[in-house]
Protein backbone atom coordinates (compact mmCIF):
# COMPACT_ATOMS: atom_id res chain seq x y z
CA UNK A 1 0.00 0.00 0.00
CA UNK A 2 2.64 2.48 1.08
CA UNK A 3 4.88 1.43 -1.76
CA UNK A 4 2.13 2.03 -4.26
CA UNK A 5 1.55 5.53 -2.93
CA UNK A 6 5.24 6.20 -2.93
CA UNK A 7 5.45 5.02 -6.53
CA UNK A 8 2.50 7.18 -7.64
CA UNK A 9 3.97 10.20 -5.88
CA UNK A 10 7.20 9.68 -7.80
CA UNK A 11 5.31 9.15 -11.03
CA UNK A 12 3.34 12.37 -10.56
CA UNK A 13 6.48 14.32 -9.90
CA UNK A 14 8.13 12.72 -12.91
CA UNK A 15 5.27 13.74 -15.19
CA UNK A 16 5.52 17.33 -13.97
CA UNK A 17 9.26 17.30 -14.44
CA UNK A 18 8.95 15.96 -17.99
CA UNK A 19 6.41 18.66 -18.88
CA UNK A 20 8.68 21.40 -17.57
CA UNK A 21 11.66 19.85 -19.34
CA UNK A 22 9.73 19.92 -22.62
CA UNK A 23 9.21 23.66 -22.18
CA UNK A 24 12.87 24.28 -21.41
CA UNK A 25 13.88 22.21 -24.44
CA UNK A 26 11.46 24.12 -26.68
CA UNK A 27 12.94 27.40 -25.45
CA UNK A 28 16.53 26.32 -26.06
CA UNK A 29 15.58 24.83 -29.43
CA UNK A 30 14.06 28.16 -30.42
CA UNK A 31 17.40 29.88 -29.87
CA UNK A 32 19.39 27.17 -31.58
CA UNK A 33 17.18 27.07 -34.65
CA UNK A 34 17.11 30.86 -35.03
CA UNK A 35 20.89 31.11 -34.65
CA UNK A 36 21.44 28.17 -36.98
CA UNK A 37 19.28 29.75 -39.68
CA UNK A 38 20.82 33.19 -39.16
CA UNK A 39 24.38 31.98 -39.69
CA UNK A 40 24.36 32.03 -43.53
CA UNK A 41 23.17 35.64 -43.39
CA UNK A 42 25.77 36.73 -40.83
CA UNK A 43 28.49 35.02 -42.89
CA UNK A 44 27.36 36.71 -46.10
CA UNK A 45 26.25 40.11 -44.80
CA UNK A 46 28.43 40.49 -41.74
CA UNK A 47 27.78 43.74 -39.93
CA UNK A 48 25.98 45.02 -43.05
CA UNK A 49 22.77 43.37 -41.85
CA UNK A 50 22.79 45.83 -38.93
CA UNK A 51 24.03 48.99 -40.64
CA UNK A 52 23.36 48.49 -44.34
CA UNK A 53 20.65 50.56 -46.00
CA UNK A 54 19.97 48.58 -49.16
CA UNK A 55 17.80 45.49 -49.42
CA UNK A 56 18.28 44.05 -52.86
CA UNK A 57 17.10 40.47 -53.21
CA UNK A 58 18.28 40.11 -56.81
CA UNK A 59 21.89 41.06 -56.03
CA UNK A 60 21.75 39.43 -52.59
CA UNK A 61 22.55 42.61 -50.68
CA UNK A 62 20.74 42.63 -47.36
CA UNK A 63 21.03 45.66 -45.09
CA UNK A 64 18.59 45.81 -42.20
CA UNK A 65 19.15 49.33 -40.88
CA UNK A 66 15.94 50.89 -42.23
CA UNK A 67 13.85 48.03 -40.79
CA UNK A 68 15.62 48.17 -37.41
CA UNK A 69 15.32 51.96 -37.20
CA UNK A 70 11.65 51.97 -38.24
CA UNK A 71 10.92 49.31 -35.63
CA UNK A 72 12.61 51.30 -32.88
CA UNK A 73 11.19 54.64 -34.01
CA UNK A 74 7.54 53.57 -34.37
CA UNK A 75 7.62 51.70 -31.04
CA UNK A 76 9.33 54.46 -29.09
CA UNK A 77 6.97 57.10 -30.49
CA UNK A 78 4.00 54.87 -29.66
CA UNK A 79 5.20 54.45 -26.09
CA UNK A 80 6.02 58.16 -25.64
CA UNK A 81 2.41 59.03 -26.47
CA UNK A 82 0.81 56.01 -24.82
CA UNK A 83 2.51 56.69 -21.48
CA UNK A 84 0.99 60.11 -20.65
CA UNK A 85 -2.40 58.96 -21.97
CA UNK A 86 -2.22 55.89 -19.76
CA UNK A 87 -1.16 57.95 -16.76
CA UNK A 88 -4.17 60.24 -17.17
CA UNK A 89 -6.47 57.24 -17.51
CA UNK A 90 -5.00 55.66 -14.38
CA UNK A 91 -5.27 58.97 -12.47
CA UNK A 92 -8.89 59.34 -13.51
CA UNK A 93 -9.62 55.72 -12.61
CA UNK A 94 -8.06 55.78 -9.16
CA UNK A 95 -8.82 59.35 -8.05
CA UNK A 96 -11.68 61.06 -9.80
CA UNK A 97 -14.07 58.60 -11.37
CA UNK A 98 -17.26 57.57 -9.59
CA UNK A 99 -17.12 53.94 -8.43
CA UNK A 100 -19.85 52.73 -10.78
CA UNK A 101 -17.94 53.93 -13.85
CA UNK A 102 -14.79 52.04 -12.87
CA UNK A 103 -16.22 48.73 -14.04
CA UNK A 104 -16.98 50.32 -17.40
CA UNK A 105 -13.48 51.72 -17.79
CA UNK A 106 -11.78 48.46 -17.00
CA UNK A 107 -14.13 46.72 -19.42
CA UNK A 108 -13.21 49.15 -22.21
CA UNK A 109 -9.51 48.65 -21.50
CA UNK A 110 -9.72 44.88 -21.51
CA UNK A 111 -11.80 44.77 -24.70
CA UNK A 112 -9.41 47.13 -26.48
CA UNK A 113 -6.56 44.83 -25.48
CA UNK A 114 -8.47 41.80 -26.75
CA UNK A 115 -9.16 43.05 -30.28
CA UNK A 116 -7.05 40.94 -32.67
CA UNK A 117 -4.23 42.87 -34.26
CA UNK A 118 -5.32 41.87 -37.76
CA UNK A 119 -8.58 43.73 -37.08
CA UNK A 120 -6.66 46.82 -36.00
CA UNK A 121 -4.90 46.28 -39.32
CA UNK A 122 -7.98 46.16 -41.55
CA UNK A 123 -9.47 49.13 -39.67
CA UNK A 124 -6.26 51.13 -40.03
CA UNK A 125 -5.88 50.20 -43.68
CA UNK A 126 -9.41 50.82 -44.97
CA UNK A 127 -10.97 53.24 -42.48
CA UNK A 128 -8.26 55.33 -40.84
CA UNK A 129 -5.69 55.61 -43.61
CA UNK A 130 -7.91 57.56 -46.08
CA UNK A 131 -9.02 59.91 -43.28
CA UNK A 132 -5.45 60.50 -42.15
CA UNK A 133 -4.41 61.20 -45.71
CA UNK A 134 -7.10 63.82 -46.31
CA UNK A 135 -7.45 65.46 -42.92
CA UNK A 136 -3.97 65.28 -41.42
CA UNK A 137 -1.25 64.56 -43.95
CA UNK A 138 -2.43 66.80 -46.80
CA UNK A 139 -3.02 69.94 -44.66
CA UNK A 140 0.25 69.47 -42.78
CA UNK A 141 2.18 68.96 -46.00
CA UNK A 142 0.48 72.01 -47.52
CA UNK A 143 1.39 74.31 -44.65
CA UNK A 144 4.67 73.05 -43.24
CA UNK A 145 5.72 70.56 -45.90
CA UNK A 146 8.98 72.46 -46.39
CA UNK A 147 10.20 70.91 -43.14
CA UNK A 148 11.76 67.60 -44.24
CA UNK A 149 10.08 65.44 -41.59
CA UNK A 150 6.64 66.66 -42.74
CA UNK A 151 7.30 66.62 -46.46
CA UNK A 152 5.01 64.96 -48.98
CA UNK A 153 3.57 63.20 -50.82
CA UNK A 154 0.70 61.95 -48.66
CA UNK A 155 0.25 58.20 -49.07
CA UNK A 156 -1.93 57.51 -46.08
CA UNK A 157 0.03 54.36 -45.37
CA UNK A 158 3.07 55.57 -43.48
CA UNK A 159 5.24 55.21 -40.42
CA UNK A 160 3.06 57.96 -38.93
CA UNK A 161 -0.08 55.84 -39.28
CA UNK A 162 1.72 52.75 -37.94
CA UNK A 163 2.79 54.69 -34.83
CA UNK A 164 -0.75 56.00 -34.38
CA UNK A 165 -2.27 52.50 -34.51
CA UNK A 166 0.46 51.26 -32.16
CA UNK A 167 -0.46 53.99 -29.65
CA UNK A 168 -4.06 52.75 -29.62
CA UNK A 169 -2.87 49.16 -29.20
CA UNK A 170 -0.37 49.95 -26.43
CA UNK A 171 -2.56 52.24 -24.28
CA UNK A 172 -4.69 49.38 -22.89
CA UNK A 173 -1.57 47.44 -21.88
CA UNK A 174 0.21 50.30 -20.13
CA UNK A 175 -2.94 51.75 -18.56
CA UNK A 176 -4.18 48.47 -17.10
CA UNK A 177 -0.76 47.82 -15.57
CA UNK A 178 -0.55 51.41 -14.28
CA UNK A 179 -3.99 51.13 -12.67
CA UNK A 180 -2.81 47.96 -10.90
CA UNK A 181 0.30 49.72 -9.67
CA UNK A 182 -1.56 52.86 -8.56
CA UNK A 183 -4.01 50.81 -6.52
CA UNK A 184 -1.13 49.31 -4.58
CA UNK A 185 -0.20 52.68 -3.03
CA UNK A 186 -0.35 52.18 0.75
CA UNK A 187 -3.57 53.67 2.06
CA UNK A 188 -1.81 55.10 5.13
CA UNK A 189 0.41 57.35 2.97
CA UNK A 190 -2.67 58.56 1.17
CA UNK A 191 -4.58 59.22 4.37
CA UNK A 192 -1.64 61.10 5.80
CA UNK A 193 -1.45 63.66 3.04
CA UNK A 194 -5.24 63.94 2.73
CA UNK A 195 -5.33 64.75 6.45
CA UNK A 196 -2.97 67.63 5.70
CA UNK A 197 -5.56 69.01 3.31
CA UNK A 198 -4.11 67.93 0.00
CA UNK A 199 -6.18 67.96 -3.17
CA UNK A 200 -6.54 64.74 -5.17
CA UNK A 201 -3.96 65.95 -7.68
CA UNK A 202 -1.51 66.57 -4.84
CA UNK A 203 -2.12 63.05 -3.59
CA UNK A 204 -1.19 61.78 -7.04
CA UNK A 205 1.77 64.10 -7.45
CA UNK A 206 3.37 63.66 -4.04
CA UNK A 207 2.34 60.14 -3.06
CA UNK A 208 1.00 57.93 -5.85
CA UNK A 209 3.44 58.75 -8.65
CA UNK A 210 6.63 58.73 -6.55
CA UNK A 211 5.49 55.45 -5.00
CA UNK A 212 4.69 53.90 -8.40
CA UNK A 213 7.68 55.20 -10.36
CA UNK A 214 9.38 51.85 -10.79
CA UNK A 215 6.18 50.07 -11.72
CA UNK A 216 5.23 52.73 -14.26
CA UNK A 217 8.64 52.44 -15.86
CA UNK A 218 8.37 48.67 -16.03
CA UNK A 219 4.86 48.86 -17.51
CA UNK A 220 6.16 51.28 -20.13
CA UNK A 221 8.95 48.92 -21.05
CA UNK A 222 6.54 45.99 -21.32
CA UNK A 223 4.41 48.15 -23.64
CA UNK A 224 7.51 48.91 -25.68
CA UNK A 225 8.18 45.19 -25.99
CA UNK A 226 4.67 44.66 -27.32
CA UNK A 227 5.02 47.46 -29.84
CA UNK A 228 8.35 46.12 -31.11
CA UNK A 229 6.91 42.67 -31.77
CA UNK A 230 3.56 43.80 -33.16
CA UNK A 231 3.23 42.45 -36.66
CA UNK A 232 -0.11 42.37 -38.43
CA UNK A 233 -1.45 45.86 -37.75
CA UNK A 234 1.91 47.40 -38.58
CA UNK A 235 2.37 45.35 -41.75
CA UNK A 236 -1.06 46.40 -42.99
CA UNK A 237 -0.66 50.14 -42.42
CA UNK A 238 3.02 50.99 -42.77
CA UNK A 239 3.22 50.81 -46.55
CA UNK A 240 6.09 48.31 -46.73
CA UNK A 241 8.52 50.39 -48.74
CA UNK A 242 12.20 50.58 -47.88
CA UNK A 243 12.16 54.38 -48.00
CA UNK A 244 12.30 55.66 -44.44
CA UNK A 245 14.64 57.01 -43.02
CA UNK A 246 17.42 57.07 -45.62
CA UNK A 247 15.64 58.10 -48.82
CA UNK A 248 13.12 60.28 -47.02
CA UNK A 249 13.00 61.26 -43.38
CA UNK A 250 9.37 62.37 -43.61
CA UNK A 251 7.12 60.70 -41.06
CA UNK A 252 4.55 60.47 -43.86
CA UNK A 253 6.74 58.15 -45.93
CA UNK A 254 5.91 54.49 -46.11
CA UNK A 255 8.39 52.40 -44.14
CA UNK A 256 9.21 48.82 -43.21
CA UNK A 257 9.73 47.36 -39.76
CA UNK A 258 11.44 44.10 -38.91
CA UNK A 259 8.12 42.38 -38.38
CA UNK A 260 6.45 43.83 -41.49
CA UNK A 261 9.44 42.87 -43.61
CA UNK A 262 9.32 39.30 -42.36
CA UNK A 263 5.55 39.02 -42.71
CA UNK A 264 5.48 40.32 -46.24
CA UNK A 265 8.64 38.69 -47.63
CA UNK A 266 9.19 35.49 -45.72
CA UNK A 267 6.86 33.16 -47.66
CA UNK A 268 8.51 34.04 -50.98
CA UNK A 269 12.04 34.07 -49.55
CA UNK A 270 12.30 30.33 -48.98
CA UNK A 271 13.68 29.73 -52.45
CA UNK A 272 16.76 31.84 -51.68
CA UNK A 273 18.80 30.67 -48.70
CA UNK A 274 20.54 33.99 -48.06
CA UNK A 275 17.29 35.93 -48.40
CA UNK A 276 15.39 33.82 -45.89
CA UNK A 277 18.42 33.66 -43.64
CA UNK A 278 18.68 37.47 -43.69
CA UNK A 279 15.04 37.77 -42.65
CA UNK A 280 15.58 35.25 -39.86
CA UNK A 281 18.66 37.12 -38.67
CA UNK A 282 16.47 40.23 -38.41
CA UNK A 283 14.03 38.13 -36.37
CA UNK A 284 16.90 37.05 -34.17
CA UNK A 285 17.91 40.68 -33.61
CA UNK A 286 14.28 41.45 -32.69
CA UNK A 287 14.23 38.52 -30.26
CA UNK A 288 17.39 39.77 -28.56
CA UNK A 289 15.91 43.28 -28.24
CA UNK A 290 12.60 41.96 -26.87
CA UNK A 291 14.22 39.64 -24.37
CA UNK A 292 16.61 42.33 -23.10
CA UNK A 293 13.67 44.68 -22.69
CA UNK A 294 11.61 42.16 -20.75
CA UNK A 295 14.60 41.31 -18.63
CA UNK A 296 15.10 45.00 -17.88
CA UNK A 297 11.42 45.41 -16.93
CA UNK A 298 11.69 42.40 -14.64
CA UNK A 299 14.82 43.77 -13.02
CA UNK A 300 13.21 47.16 -12.38
CA UNK A 301 10.12 45.55 -10.91
CA UNK A 302 12.17 43.37 -8.60
CA UNK A 303 14.12 46.38 -7.43
CA UNK A 304 11.09 48.56 -6.80
CA UNK A 305 8.31 46.20 -5.81
CA UNK A 306 9.88 42.81 -5.31
CA UNK A 307 7.54 41.05 -7.71
CA UNK A 308 6.37 40.48 -11.23
CA UNK A 309 3.38 42.20 -12.75
Amino acid sequence: MNNKFFFLEKLFKLILKIATLIIIIIFILMFISLIERSIPSFLKNGIYILIGTTWDVYNEIFGGAPAILATLFSSIIAVLFALPISLFIAIFYTEYCPLRIRQLISEVISLLAAIPSVIYGIWGLWTISPLIKIYIQEPIIAYIGFIPIFSGPAYGLSIFLASLILIIMIVPIISSLTIDIFSKTPITLREGIIALGATKWEVVKYIVIPFSKGGIFAATILGLGRALGETMAVTMVIGNAYVWPFKSISIFSPATTITSKIASEFPESVVNLIHSSSLISLAFILLIISISINFLADLILKKFTGGKL
Partner: protein, 271 residues
Protein backbone atom coordinates in the same frame (compact mmCIF):
# COMPACT_ATOMS: atom_id res chain seq x y z
CA UNK B 1 -10.80 79.34 -5.69
CA UNK B 2 -7.08 79.16 -5.15
CA UNK B 3 -4.49 77.95 -7.60
CA UNK B 4 -4.27 74.47 -6.01
CA UNK B 5 -7.97 73.83 -6.45
CA UNK B 6 -7.82 75.06 -10.03
CA UNK B 7 -4.94 72.72 -10.80
CA UNK B 8 -6.88 69.84 -9.30
CA UNK B 9 -9.95 70.69 -11.37
CA UNK B 10 -7.83 70.99 -14.49
CA UNK B 11 -6.32 67.55 -14.00
CA UNK B 12 -9.76 66.14 -13.32
CA UNK B 13 -11.07 67.55 -16.59
CA UNK B 14 -8.06 66.50 -18.67
CA UNK B 15 -7.97 62.99 -17.26
CA UNK B 16 -11.68 62.46 -17.81
CA UNK B 17 -11.42 63.72 -21.39
CA UNK B 18 -8.45 61.43 -22.07
CA UNK B 19 -10.37 58.49 -20.64
CA UNK B 20 -13.40 59.22 -22.80
CA UNK B 21 -11.14 59.54 -25.86
CA UNK B 22 -9.79 56.05 -25.15
CA UNK B 23 -13.27 54.60 -25.59
CA UNK B 24 -13.61 56.09 -29.07
CA UNK B 25 -11.37 53.61 -30.93
CA UNK B 26 -13.16 50.70 -29.27
CA UNK B 27 -16.61 51.92 -30.31
CA UNK B 28 -15.31 52.94 -33.71
CA UNK B 29 -13.74 49.58 -34.47
CA UNK B 30 -16.75 47.62 -33.26
CA UNK B 31 -19.26 49.75 -35.18
CA UNK B 32 -17.08 49.86 -38.27
CA UNK B 33 -16.64 46.09 -38.37
CA UNK B 34 -20.33 45.62 -37.63
CA UNK B 35 -21.54 47.99 -40.35
CA UNK B 36 -19.11 46.85 -43.04
CA UNK B 37 -19.27 43.18 -42.12
CA UNK B 38 -22.94 42.55 -41.53
CA UNK B 39 -24.06 43.04 -45.13
CA UNK B 40 -21.98 40.12 -46.36
CA UNK B 41 -23.06 37.69 -43.66
CA UNK B 42 -25.45 35.16 -45.16
CA UNK B 43 -26.03 31.44 -44.97
CA UNK B 44 -23.90 30.97 -48.08
CA UNK B 45 -21.08 33.08 -46.57
CA UNK B 46 -21.07 30.99 -43.42
CA UNK B 47 -21.37 27.56 -45.04
CA UNK B 48 -19.50 27.51 -48.33
CA UNK B 49 -15.94 27.52 -49.61
CA UNK B 50 -14.15 30.58 -50.95
CA UNK B 51 -14.91 31.32 -54.59
CA UNK B 52 -13.11 33.41 -57.23
CA UNK B 53 -13.75 37.15 -57.13
CA UNK B 54 -17.30 38.08 -58.00
CA UNK B 55 -18.75 34.60 -57.58
CA UNK B 56 -20.03 34.76 -54.04
CA UNK B 57 -18.66 31.93 -51.98
CA UNK B 58 -17.96 31.92 -48.27
CA UNK B 59 -15.47 31.41 -45.54
CA UNK B 60 -16.69 28.21 -43.88
CA UNK B 61 -13.34 26.43 -44.24
CA UNK B 62 -11.60 29.34 -42.48
CA UNK B 63 -14.07 29.23 -39.59
CA UNK B 64 -13.53 25.50 -39.17
CA UNK B 65 -9.78 25.90 -39.69
CA UNK B 66 -9.44 28.46 -36.92
CA UNK B 67 -11.38 26.21 -34.55
CA UNK B 68 -9.30 23.14 -35.46
CA UNK B 69 -5.95 24.93 -35.13
CA UNK B 70 -6.99 26.54 -31.83
CA UNK B 71 -8.20 23.22 -30.45
CA UNK B 72 -4.95 21.50 -31.38
CA UNK B 73 -2.95 24.32 -29.82
CA UNK B 74 -5.00 24.02 -26.61
CA UNK B 75 -4.53 20.24 -26.51
CA UNK B 76 -0.75 20.75 -26.59
CA UNK B 77 -0.49 23.94 -24.56
CA UNK B 78 -3.02 23.62 -21.73
CA UNK B 79 -1.67 20.37 -20.16
CA UNK B 80 1.91 21.64 -20.42
CA UNK B 81 0.84 24.95 -18.90
CA UNK B 82 -1.05 23.34 -16.04
CA UNK B 83 1.81 20.93 -15.30
CA UNK B 84 4.27 23.84 -15.23
CA UNK B 85 1.99 25.89 -12.99
CA UNK B 86 1.55 22.96 -10.59
CA UNK B 87 5.27 22.37 -10.56
CA UNK B 88 6.06 26.01 -9.89
CA UNK B 89 3.47 26.27 -7.15
CA UNK B 90 3.90 22.95 -5.31
CA UNK B 91 7.28 21.44 -6.14
CA UNK B 92 9.61 24.25 -7.04
CA UNK B 93 12.30 25.36 -4.63
CA UNK B 94 15.20 27.71 -4.98
CA UNK B 95 17.13 25.25 -7.12
CA UNK B 96 18.70 26.42 -10.37
CA UNK B 97 16.17 24.35 -12.30
CA UNK B 98 13.18 26.13 -10.75
CA UNK B 99 14.70 29.57 -11.26
CA UNK B 100 15.55 28.73 -14.86
CA UNK B 101 12.01 27.46 -15.49
CA UNK B 102 10.47 30.55 -13.95
CA UNK B 103 12.63 32.84 -16.08
CA UNK B 104 11.89 30.87 -19.23
CA UNK B 105 8.13 31.07 -18.64
CA UNK B 106 8.43 34.81 -18.06
CA UNK B 107 10.62 35.31 -21.13
CA UNK B 108 8.37 33.19 -23.36
CA UNK B 109 5.43 35.45 -22.58
CA UNK B 110 7.38 38.36 -24.08
CA UNK B 111 8.58 36.67 -27.26
CA UNK B 112 6.94 38.29 -30.32
CA UNK B 113 4.54 35.82 -31.88
CA UNK B 114 6.04 36.23 -35.35
CA UNK B 115 9.24 34.67 -33.99
CA UNK B 116 7.30 31.65 -32.77
CA UNK B 117 5.97 31.33 -36.32
CA UNK B 118 9.48 31.35 -37.76
CA UNK B 119 10.57 28.83 -35.14
CA UNK B 120 7.71 26.45 -36.01
CA UNK B 121 8.51 26.95 -39.68
CA UNK B 122 12.17 26.09 -39.11
CA UNK B 123 11.68 22.94 -37.10
CA UNK B 124 8.46 21.57 -38.59
CA UNK B 125 7.58 23.01 -42.00
CA UNK B 126 11.12 22.75 -43.37
CA UNK B 127 11.54 19.20 -42.07
CA UNK B 128 8.17 17.96 -43.34
CA UNK B 129 8.55 19.85 -46.60
CA UNK B 130 5.11 21.49 -46.71
CA UNK B 131 2.96 23.93 -44.77
CA UNK B 132 0.92 22.23 -42.08
CA UNK B 133 -1.68 23.07 -39.46
CA UNK B 134 0.34 21.09 -36.92
CA UNK B 135 3.15 23.65 -37.06
CA UNK B 136 0.58 26.40 -36.49
CA UNK B 137 -0.81 24.61 -33.46
CA UNK B 138 2.73 24.16 -32.13
CA UNK B 139 3.51 27.87 -32.51
CA UNK B 140 0.25 28.93 -30.87
CA UNK B 141 0.68 26.44 -28.01
CA UNK B 142 3.89 28.26 -27.00
CA UNK B 143 1.76 31.39 -26.56
CA UNK B 144 -0.69 29.46 -24.39
CA UNK B 145 1.81 27.82 -22.03
CA UNK B 146 2.93 30.92 -20.06
CA UNK B 147 -0.66 32.21 -19.74
CA UNK B 148 -1.94 28.94 -18.25
CA UNK B 149 1.17 28.34 -16.15
CA UNK B 150 0.95 31.72 -14.49
CA UNK B 151 -2.79 31.47 -13.83
CA UNK B 152 -2.48 27.93 -12.46
CA UNK B 153 0.36 28.90 -10.18
CA UNK B 154 -1.49 31.93 -8.88
CA UNK B 155 -4.75 30.01 -8.48
CA UNK B 156 -2.98 27.33 -6.44
CA UNK B 157 -1.11 29.81 -4.31
CA UNK B 158 -4.42 31.40 -3.37
CA UNK B 159 -5.62 28.13 -1.81
CA UNK B 160 -5.97 28.79 1.93
CA UNK B 161 -3.38 27.15 4.14
CA UNK B 162 -6.18 25.63 6.27
CA UNK B 163 -7.31 23.50 3.34
CA UNK B 164 -3.77 22.25 2.79
CA UNK B 165 -3.34 21.50 6.49
CA UNK B 166 -6.66 19.69 6.61
CA UNK B 167 -5.70 17.52 3.69
CA UNK B 168 -2.27 16.77 5.11
CA UNK B 169 -3.85 15.89 8.48
CA UNK B 170 -5.97 13.28 6.71
CA UNK B 171 -2.75 11.56 5.71
CA UNK B 172 -3.27 11.95 1.99
CA UNK B 173 -0.21 11.73 -0.25
CA UNK B 174 0.95 14.98 -1.76
CA UNK B 175 0.00 14.21 -5.35
CA UNK B 176 -3.60 13.47 -4.38
CA UNK B 177 -3.73 16.64 -2.31
CA UNK B 178 -2.35 18.54 -5.27
CA UNK B 179 -4.70 17.12 -7.89
CA UNK B 180 -7.92 16.64 -5.96
CA UNK B 181 -7.88 19.44 -3.47
CA UNK B 182 -5.60 22.27 -4.49
CA UNK B 183 -6.10 22.00 -8.23
CA UNK B 184 -9.81 21.56 -7.46
CA UNK B 185 -9.86 24.88 -5.68
CA UNK B 186 -7.74 26.49 -8.39
CA UNK B 187 -10.03 25.03 -11.08
CA UNK B 188 -11.76 28.32 -11.79
CA UNK B 189 -8.62 30.23 -12.59
CA UNK B 190 -7.43 27.38 -14.82
CA UNK B 191 -10.70 27.38 -16.78
CA UNK B 192 -10.74 31.17 -17.04
CA UNK B 193 -7.19 31.34 -18.29
CA UNK B 194 -7.80 28.53 -20.79
CA UNK B 195 -10.70 30.47 -22.28
CA UNK B 196 -8.61 33.62 -22.31
CA UNK B 197 -5.79 31.77 -24.04
CA UNK B 198 -8.26 30.45 -26.62
CA UNK B 199 -9.45 34.00 -27.33
CA UNK B 200 -5.90 35.28 -27.45
CA UNK B 201 -4.69 32.75 -30.03
CA UNK B 202 -7.84 33.27 -32.11
CA UNK B 203 -6.47 36.71 -32.88
CA UNK B 204 -2.92 35.61 -33.66
CA UNK B 205 -2.11 35.87 -37.34
CA UNK B 206 1.64 36.25 -37.77
CA UNK B 207 2.54 32.71 -36.64
CA UNK B 208 -0.01 31.25 -39.07
CA UNK B 209 1.50 32.95 -42.11
CA UNK B 210 4.54 30.67 -41.99
CA UNK B 211 2.88 27.51 -40.72
CA UNK B 212 -0.72 26.72 -41.68
CA UNK B 213 -0.64 29.31 -44.47
CA UNK B 214 -4.05 29.09 -46.17
CA UNK B 215 -6.18 26.75 -48.20
CA UNK B 216 -9.22 27.19 -50.37
CA UNK B 217 -10.55 23.74 -49.55
CA UNK B 218 -12.17 21.95 -46.63
CA UNK B 219 -9.69 20.66 -44.05
CA UNK B 220 -9.15 16.95 -44.69
CA UNK B 221 -6.13 16.20 -42.60
CA UNK B 222 -4.37 17.96 -39.76
CA UNK B 223 -1.06 17.65 -41.54
CA UNK B 224 -1.75 20.00 -44.44
CA UNK B 225 -2.15 23.73 -45.08
CA UNK B 226 -5.31 24.97 -43.44
CA UNK B 227 -7.45 28.08 -43.80
CA UNK B 228 -8.01 30.37 -40.84
CA UNK B 229 -10.12 33.48 -40.32
CA UNK B 230 -7.06 35.50 -39.37
CA UNK B 231 -5.05 34.76 -42.51
CA UNK B 232 -8.18 35.17 -44.62
CA UNK B 233 -8.72 38.66 -43.21
CA UNK B 234 -5.09 39.57 -43.92
CA UNK B 235 -5.05 38.16 -47.47
CA UNK B 236 -8.42 39.57 -48.48
CA UNK B 237 -7.89 42.98 -46.86
CA UNK B 238 -4.51 43.37 -48.57
CA UNK B 239 -5.80 42.14 -51.94
CA UNK B 240 -7.44 45.47 -52.72
CA UNK B 241 -10.39 43.87 -54.59
CA UNK B 242 -13.54 45.35 -53.20
CA UNK B 243 -15.43 42.05 -53.17
CA UNK B 244 -12.65 40.42 -51.16
CA UNK B 245 -12.21 43.36 -48.80
CA UNK B 246 -15.94 43.10 -47.99
CA UNK B 247 -15.42 39.43 -47.19
CA UNK B 248 -12.49 40.38 -44.96
CA UNK B 249 -14.85 42.69 -43.03
CA UNK B 250 -17.37 39.86 -42.72
CA UNK B 251 -14.66 37.54 -41.40
CA UNK B 252 -13.49 40.31 -39.02
CA UNK B 253 -17.01 40.53 -37.63
CA UNK B 254 -17.07 36.81 -36.87
CA UNK B 255 -13.60 36.90 -35.33
CA UNK B 256 -14.44 39.96 -33.25
CA UNK B 257 -17.65 38.31 -32.02
CA UNK B 258 -15.72 35.19 -31.02
CA UNK B 259 -12.93 37.03 -29.21
CA UNK B 260 -15.03 39.70 -27.51
CA UNK B 261 -17.77 37.31 -26.40
CA UNK B 262 -15.20 35.08 -24.68
CA UNK B 263 -13.70 38.12 -22.98
CA UNK B 264 -17.08 39.47 -21.87
CA UNK B 265 -18.10 36.02 -20.65
CA UNK B 266 -14.97 35.80 -18.53
CA UNK B 267 -15.33 39.28 -17.08
CA UNK B 268 -19.03 38.96 -16.32
CA UNK B 269 -19.41 35.42 -15.07
CA UNK B 270 -16.15 33.74 -14.25
CA UNK B 271 -14.09 36.21 -12.28
Amino acid sequence: MNIRKIKDLLIKIISSIVTIIMAIPLLWIILDVLIKGISIISLEFLTSLPAPIGEGGGIANAIIGTLIINTMACIIGIPLGIATGVYLSEYSDNSKFSILLRNIIYTLSGVPSIILGIFAFSIIVIRIGHYTAIAAAFALSIIIIPIIAKATEEGMKAVPIEIREGAIALGLPKWIITIKIILGVAKNSVITSSLLAFARISGETAPLLFTALFSNYWPRSLNEPMASLQVLIYNYAMSGFEAWVTKAWGASLLLLLLVLSINILIRRYLR
